[in-house]
């Protein structure tokens, strides 16, 4: 843009050029204002959300105070509401899903970006984008009719026979519970990790790879020791995007988690998540305290996401600074 305006002057008098530049600057100003408004609306919506959640949860905040977050009885009949089992369930299912999805997703992204021929990579990317667009209720149905029977008949007995001494794999195998919900979530978030990580890996400059290869490293050494570290902030970003999706997922989780507010070390145990209980109970919550406690659960989920996102930011900043520091030495 700037180059075209500087080549124009010979066409007209100096005054005309000034006004042209002026108008252009005016246009810039307008564009800046409009885009600023768009960006500001994001902040506005976030603040509005917090405000609504805060206003909507007056009763339980006054009645239970901080106890709301660390007690575990959820009884709509006797008006006792504690969020701990739901917070626990949300964290555990998200952790299981990342535990499975991160290695698979990053592995697939490395293959697609570094090793696969471009044609294969683009075709697979098309399928991955399709997977990301499937509605979550479909994943829930898939979970109920395929993952749950598989878990009950094969995976859970196998785990119990081999690793059954761990508290993680104790108790009756219902087929539903934390582990199944985590696995279904993993299936749902893998496309995000692959898609974003692949883009980030593809964006690593060619000379990085060429420099590594010219120093005599193998293809895998250049990928694992040069390209992946270079792309680390972006890959972490994809993981946190996946985490955000896992934390807030409602439909697929409620269909396979067992919807029982208990805290158990066993991944076979049924559990409950914040988003699932809100979706399940909000429509039939007849007492105000019950209704507002569900709203406060929404606030809890917001805070949880806020804290985890903050930690994610810190992690990204820390790793990218270390990377830069290493680059300088």
């Amino acid at each position: 843009m700037a180059t075209t305006t500087t080549t124009v002057p010979s066409a007209g008098p100096v005054a005309g050029l000034r006004s042209f530049l002026f108008r252009l600057r005016e246009g810039d100003e307008i564009a800046r204002m409009i885009t600023f408004l768009f960006a500001a609306s994001v902040v506005l919506v976030t603040l509005l959300l917090v405000f609504v959640l805060w206003q909507g949860s007056v009763l339980p905040r006054h009645k239970f105070g901080f106890n709301f977050f660390h007690t575990s009885v959820w009884d709509p009949i006797f008006d006792q509401f504690g969020a701990l089992p739901f917070i626990y369930g949300t964290l555990v299912t998200s952790a299981v899903s990342l535990f499975v999805a991160v290695p698979l997703g990053i592995g697939a992204a490395i293959f697609l970006a570094e090793l696969a021929p471009a044609r294969v990579s683009d075709t697979l990317e098309f399928f991955i984008d399709l997977l990301a667009a499937v509605p979550s209720v479909i994943y829930g149905v898939l979970g109920v009719f395929i993952v749950v029977p598989l878990m009950r008949s094969y995976i859970q007995p196998a785990l119990q026979n081999t690793l059954g001494f761990l508290p993680l794999f104790k108790g009756p195998a219902y087929g539903i519970g934390f582990l199944t919900a985590g696995l279904v979530l993993a299936i749902m978030v893998i496309p995000y990790i692959i898609s974003v990580s692949r883009e980030v890996l593809l964006a690593v400059p060619r000379d990085q790879r060429e420099a590594a290869l010219s120093l005599g490293s193998t293809r895998w050494e250049s990928t694992w020791q040069v390209v992946v570290p270079f792309a680390r902030p972006g890959i972490l970003g994809s993981i946190f995007l996946a985490l955000a999706r896992a934390l807030g997922e409602t439909m697929a989780v409620t269909m396979v988690i067992g919807n029982t507010p208990i805290i158990s070390a066993s991944l076979f145990s049924p559990g409950y998540s914040i988003a699932a209980v809100i979706a399940n109970e909000l429509t039939e919550a007849t007492s105000n305290l019950h209704y507002q406690s569900l709203i406060e659960l929404g606030l809890a989920l917001f805070l949880l996401t806020f804290i985890l996102n903050g930690l994610a930011r810190l992690l990204i900043v820390a790793t990218s600074q270390r990377g830069r520091a290493m680059g300088h030495t």
Partner: protein, 342 residues
């Protein structure tokens, strides 16, 4: 082409005039359980009264009570009657009361999946409450086996399945359990969502039914309409006269008729564990919630007209959809109560 466009415009204009003429639209919201019945009724009634359109959103009983109290809908609907606090809240806000009108009857049935057992099982109240309290954990427990002589029940753990979302079906089930078990009443209580002592939660009748079908040795409750329409096996329940009754439309109406004899004037009655030799014990009315006063006389007359039709001709549509008819005594009483809507 031009002619067709002109014709279309004329048709549109006429339609517009007609629509403007039939502008009366009434909105309601609430219970999901009777929704298939209500949408059939509103549709049939609209065919007879083209000027009146009734929109009903099945958002759940809690939502129905909330919205009618806030005045955002003309009437509500609920599977569990409003409690005294909710009635008072309505009275305080509007300066007049709200009336309950029973519409149809529904029931919950106990369903199960025990490998190797195809017989129709009998359940005593003690067995049902014991299983749901987590005190009876094996299928061959004497409390279950005693009522099922000749059926060989396995020594397997019972997997209890219940609804995860708040629902009228759960209200009926927990209302029944509260009546037959003091321990349930004091420990758990009745409501659309409760703090379950044991079991897995699944969403909707289809979720519970699917879980029971999939899981060996499971036990849960589903709504009668759903069980009939999906050909699901379900057990008999011992009623207060000591007879084991299988839920069907006749045994539901019998329960309602027994309860109709001492029906309170506000119709807020629970008919679980009803007296009567042939009464099925886990059934309930579902109600329309109609404000006692309307500022708009045409709306009032339209709603009263609909309730009158629903109580008379409307009842003929119920059995095709597997809902039980209201007993005659209840209909007569409701017709009288309709005069209180002003």
């Amino acid at each position: 082409m031009k002619r067709i466009t002109g014709l279309l415009l004329v048709v549109l204009a006429v339609a517009g005039v007609l629509c403007a003429d039939s502008a009366l639209s009434i909105t309601g919201a609430g219970a999901t359980f009777p929704y298939p019945m209500y949408s059939k009724w509103f549709d049939e009634y609209h065919k007879k009264n083209v000027h009146l359109e009734i929109n009903y959103q099945s958002i759940g009983s809690g939502g129905g009570i909330k919205q009618v109290t806030e005045g955002t809908v003309d009437f509500g609907a609920t599977d569990g009657p409003m409690n005294d606090d909710q009635l008072k809240a309505f009275q305080d806000k509007h300066g007049f009361g709200i009336l309950h009108f029973p519409t149809v009857l529904g029931a919950d049935v106990p369903s199960y999946n025990i490998p190797g057992v195809s017989a129709e099982l009998n359940f005593t109240p003690e067995a049902i409450s014991g299983i749901f309290l987590g005190k009876i954990t094996k299928w061959n427990d004497p409390a279950i086996a005693g009522a099922n002589k000749g059926v060989s029940l396995p020594a397997n753990d019972i997997v209890v399945v219940h609804r995860s979302e708040g629902s009228g079906t759960t209200y009926i089930w927990t209302d029944y359990l509260s009546k037959i078990s003091d321990e349930w009443k004091t420990k758990v209580g009745k409501g659309a969502s409760v703090n379950w002592p044991v079991g897995l939660g699944q969403k909707g009748n289809e979720g519970v039914a699917g879980m029971i079908k999939q899981t060996p040795n499971s036990f849960g409750y589903i709504e009668l309409v759903y069980a009939i329409q999906n050909n699901m096996a379900y057990g008999r329940v011992k009623n207060s006269s000591g007879a084991f009754i299988k839920a069907d439309l006749a045994s539901l109406t019998a329960a309602a008729a027994a309860a109709a004899k001492n029906m309170p004037d506000d119709f807020r009655v629970s008919i679980t564990d009803a007296p009567g030799k042939t009464a099925y014990p886990i059934s309930s009315f579902t109600w329309l919630l109609v404000p006692a006063k309307f500022s708009d006389a045409t709306k009032r007359d339209a709603i009263k007209g609909f309730v009158k039709w629903m109580l008379a001709d409307g009842q003929n549509y119920t059995e095709a959809l597997s809902y039980a008819k209201l007993p005659k005594e209840v209909v007569a009483k409701e017709m009288k109560a309709l005069n209180n809507v002003q």
